[in-house]
């Protein structure tokens, strides 16, 4: 997107909403800002209706601040808690149905490649663990098998939070949730490993307790997807509402999960991706 | 074979039929659908109307296969399988003897005074009931040794359908030899014909038997001509 497109025409400054003026004057477009700049610019996400202490809300804020070129990024969301905060995001984003985000992103990315052969348009598919790990898993994995060049990000709150806290495939074994009244009977899905095996050139796990690490991973994932193929990031998003802890304890819980090994930060990088990362980071 | 065309005769319901409908029954891979395509194509080349369709099923080698051809001097409206054919062609004796057919008995729906053309070396042993029914509708039953003609002349069983087309032309004169040859050329010639995967594989097999397309066409036309001569009517 050329900055001429969003700049306000002379004479219209006063009638444009403040939110829009702020975006034009202090927004992140064409500025190469990052997580360290949070608080100094108008963020892409506005007030959202997610719960207090929501790990997903924090993760989304960090992701949006980490996008390497928000002015040329389109997001594909899907049903779930995360979708409640898409309407407040100031970059083009799509909500279609539950779990089809990777199939839809495939069509979108290919369409943008046809229409903008000389420009880079990043597509990022985002969804919860229900959308990505359960109902849409077939479509997610097939986008990886096909080598589609976009990034998939999972907000993993280990439950169907939007519908009231039911068990998902990403819930921990033994977790007692709705629809798992006697505890989940099988292990958390090994999705980062599945992603690696299914053709993701980059597969990473992180938590919002590590904003800089998260930012680095998002940038790597988006840049590698442009050049090489599918990338995957899984972010632990503590859910105080459904896991019944105090909103103020979200960060502590995240750290506890890391400490106990229930949630392990990791990064799988293909040899081709490794080489490219070296190049990127040298250029920087 | 001097039998005059039977298709313009008045039928029992009194309608003078200028149209003809043909049902072809055989086994998957014998070319019943290709035969229908070539006959229909020849009729279109002659300026007539034609519609052609296969039996509606999943395609499998040696499973029953059926196709339908409608030819008329006027627009053809009716669609789908031919329930009341003028002509029934049986590409393999198993259609009758082993019931490898979607239509049972094989003459079901045949119009009065209709034609049956069977590929068999010798006359088949019909049941008493079949004989009775065939006589009742005044069926004209013809035999042609299509498989041996194909093997003798074209040296391939893939030409059985050509021999069956020859028998059909011999009995009904529904299309001319010239149009048949041209239709064959359109089907196997240079212009890429769109075939389903299994049919495309058989096309390749057919083409591999002959050095050049023209040779394929000539040999197959020889098969046709021989079948025209060899098709014979028998009393039921």
């Amino acid at each position: 997107m050329n900055n001429k497109i969003y700049k306000i025409s002379p004479g219209f400054e006063k009638i444009m909403p403040k939110d829009y003026r702020d975006l034009v004057n202090d927004g992140p477009f064409d500025k190469k800002l990052g997580v360290k700049d949070l608080g100094t610019f108008k963020e892409l996400i506005e007030e959202h209706p997610l719960c207090a202490g929501c790990g997903l809300a924090l993760s989304k804020r960090l992701i949006l601040a980490s996008l390497p070129s928000p002015e040329n990024t389109v997001i594909v969301g899907t049903t779930g808690c995360s979708s409640l905060s898409f309407a407040q995001v100031a970059i083009h984003n799509i909500h279609s149905i539950f779990g089809n985000q990777n199939a839809l992103a495939t069509g979108l990315k290919r369409a943008l490649e046809i229409r903008f052969p000389d420009k880079t348009k990043d597509v990022v598919a985002m969804g919860g663990d229900g959308a990505i790990g359960d109902i849409g898993l077939g479509m997610v994995m097939h986008s990886w098998f096909r080598g589609e060049k976009f990034t998939t990000i999972m907000f993993d709150n280990e439950a169907y939070a939007n519908t009231g806290g039911q068990e998902s495939g990403m819930s921990q074994k033994g977790a007692v949730l709705n629809m798992a009244p006697t505890g989940k009977k099988y292990d958390k899905l090994p999705l980062p490993e599945i992603a690696r095996a299914a053709g993701c050139v980059y597969s990473a796990v992180v938590t919002p307790a590590r904003p800089k690490r998260l930012e680095k991973m998002v940038r790597r994932a988006v840049l590698l997807a442009r050049e090489l193929g599918p990338t995957y990031i899984q972010i632990y998003c503590p859910c105080p509402t459904n896991y019944k802890f105090k909103p103020s304890e979200s960060l502590k819980r995240t750290k506890d999960m890391e400490k106990s090994g229930a949630y392990q930060i990791k990064e799988y990088i293909s040899p081709a991706a490794e080489e490219l990362i070296k190049k990127f980071e040298e250029e920087k | 074979m001097n039998q005059k065309t039977v298709i313009n005769k008045k039928t029992s319901n009194g309608v003078n039929r200028k149209s003809i409908s043909i049902r072809m029954s055989g086994l998957g891979g014998q070319g019943v659908i290709t035969a229908a395509h070539i006959i229909g194509g020849a009729a279109v080349l002659d300026g007539k109307f034609s519609t052609v369709n296969p039996f509606f099923g999943a395609e499998k080698r040696l499973a029953p296969a059926e196709s339908y051809v409608r030819i008329s001097g006027k627009n053809i409206y009716e669609r789908g399988e031919i329930v009341y054919p003028d002509v029934i062609m049986v590409f393999h004796p198993h259609v009758i003897t082993m019931g490898k057919s979607y239509t049972m008995p094989f003459y079901d729906g045949l119009k009065s005074n209709g034609i049956v053309i069977i590929n068999a070396e010798t006359e088949l042993d019909f049941t008493a009931e079949d004989k009775r029914n065939l006589s009742k509708i005044k069926a004209n039953v013809f035999y042609v040794p299509a498989t041996s003609i194909a093997l003798d002349v074209a040296k391939t069983e893939l030409s059985v359908n050509m021999a069956m087309m020859g028998a059909l032309v011999g009995v009904t004169k529904i299309v001319s030899m010239g149009d048949l040859k041209e239709s064959l050329r359109e089907r196997f010639g240079k212009k890429k014909f769109i075939a389903s995967a299994t049919t495309a594989a058989l096309d390749d097999a057919m083409k591999s038997k002959f050095a050049k397309t023209e040779q394929l066409i000539e040999k197959n036309m020889d098969v046709v001509k021989k079948a025209v001569d060899m098709v014979k009517k028998t009393a039921i």
Binding site: N93, A103 | V52
Partner: protein, 384 residues
């Protein structure tokens, strides 16, 4: 993307539809689809080989390999394909896909979603029966289920109709005052697998490209100002603003379908076609049932019976005023259908005054063709 592009001249739709000299070809319905797409300037096509299957989408793959379509792939499943074409359409390109029967139902959730998102996708549906018992045979039951998705619904009688309707659907779908998906139905096997004469335009001309910036909804390409803008509007809050928003959006989708009438009239020559409409008895039908009716009418006329024919080409928008006027003063309206539910008879009954004269028969289902004799028997019965 395809390595090579075929050089075709872009012409006005009117030129391609009406003026260009047409050539007769002896082809199947599936091949007619391919010929249509060849001339439609389609950017992307996505396929899935579910049973029931026709050759149409693999033939579109062949013309992609020849350079007529810019991008094409086989999707992972029906829902995936219908989602991907939605993504492509939101990304601003012209897309095509086809499905049918069980496949269509597998992907059902996407069809109202396309309409709600105002996506001008053209999708061909090749009707088949639905389980259970397992079937792949022709049957139009799915049309009744898909009538109220918000898509425009056309029903082809022949391969010729299929060729023309698909080509024209892109232009109708993309009209800024319509901008809705078009579902072009054709009866599986009866049309898809039947070889017949089809008249087609030269292959070196094609439609003008789709212009996504004429759309009434923003294209998702980050080339328009970044207001907080989402496709599609997410209005599931429990408050009256949300309710009103959703309600008016649905009304607008239906209104857009109504506005398609004038374009359907222009390009398809009307939502319906009539013959001998002055007769006391009318047959109203769509798809293959029209063909079978034509054959039955020839026989009825030979018996001295007068009967008119109304061929419905557009089912959404539904030609309700036309049908109401045509049925006025008639002795009987016979509605032959290839399904057990009788959705067309139900539709017609809902708009005809004195609907007791609407005869929902004959109905053939299970896969067999409809012998014209059955329709003739209804004509005879109504003529007494």
């Amino acid at each position: 993307m395809a390595d090579k592009a075929i050089q075709q001249k872009i012409v006005e739709p009117e030129e391609l539809f009406f003026k260009a000299k047409r050539e007769k070809q002896f082809i199947t319905g599936s091949e007619a689809v391919k010929e249509s797409i060849k001339r439609a300037n389609v950017d992307m096509a996505i396929s899935y080989p579910i049973t029931p299957q026709s050759e149409s989408m693999h033939l579109v793959g062949d013309i992609y390999a020849q350079g007529y379509v810019k991008d094409y792939y086989r999707g992972e499943n029906e829902l995936g394909v219908m989602s991907a074409v939605a993504g492509a359409s939101m990304g601003g390109v012209r897309v095509f896909t086809a499905t049918g029967g069980q496949g269509a139902l597998r992907a059902f959730e996407m069809f109202p979603t396309w309409a709600g998102a105002r996506l001008p996708i053209v999708c061909a549906f090749f009707c088949r029966g639905l389980n259970s018992p397992l079937t792949i045979q022709p049957d139009t039951i799915e049309i009744g289920l898909l009538l109220d998705t918000g898509m425009l619904v056309l029903h082809a009688e022949t391969a010729q109709d299929l060729y023309d309707m698909i080509l024209k659907s892109f232009i109708i779908a993309e009209e800024p005052d319509v901008h809705l998906p078009v579902a072009v139905f054709a009866d599986g096997f009866f049309v898809t697998h039947t070889r017949e004469i089809v008249e087609i335009a030269p292959e070196d001309i094609k439609l003008p490209p789709y212009n996504p910036y004429k759309a009434p909804v923003p294209v998702m390409d980050m080339e328009t100002p970044p207001v907080r803008q989402m496709r599609d509007p997410f209005v599931m809050k429990s408050n009256y603003v949300s309710y009103a928003c959703h309600a008016s959006w649905q009304q607008e989708v239906r209104a857009a379908a109504e506005r398609a009438r004038k374009h359907i009239n222009k390009y398809l020559g009307g939502l319906l076609e009539t013959g001998n409409e002055d007769a006391e008895i009318l047959i109203m039908a769509s798809g293959t049932a029209v063909s079978q009716s034509r054959a039955a009418i020839i026989r009825a006329e030979a018996e001295g019976l007068k009967v008119g024919l109304v061929k419905l080409k557009s089912l959404r928008p539904f030609p309700k005023d036309e049908i109401k006027a045509l049925a006025k003063g008639k002795k009987a309206v016979i509605v032959p259908e290839f399904n057990i539910t009788g959705w067309l008879a139900r539709e017609i009954k809902s708009v005809v005054e004195d609907n007791s004269k609407v005869i929902g028969a004959p109905r053939v289902y299970g896969g067999m063709t409809m012998p014209p004799k059955l329709i003739l028997e209804e004509i005879r019965r109504c003529s007494k």
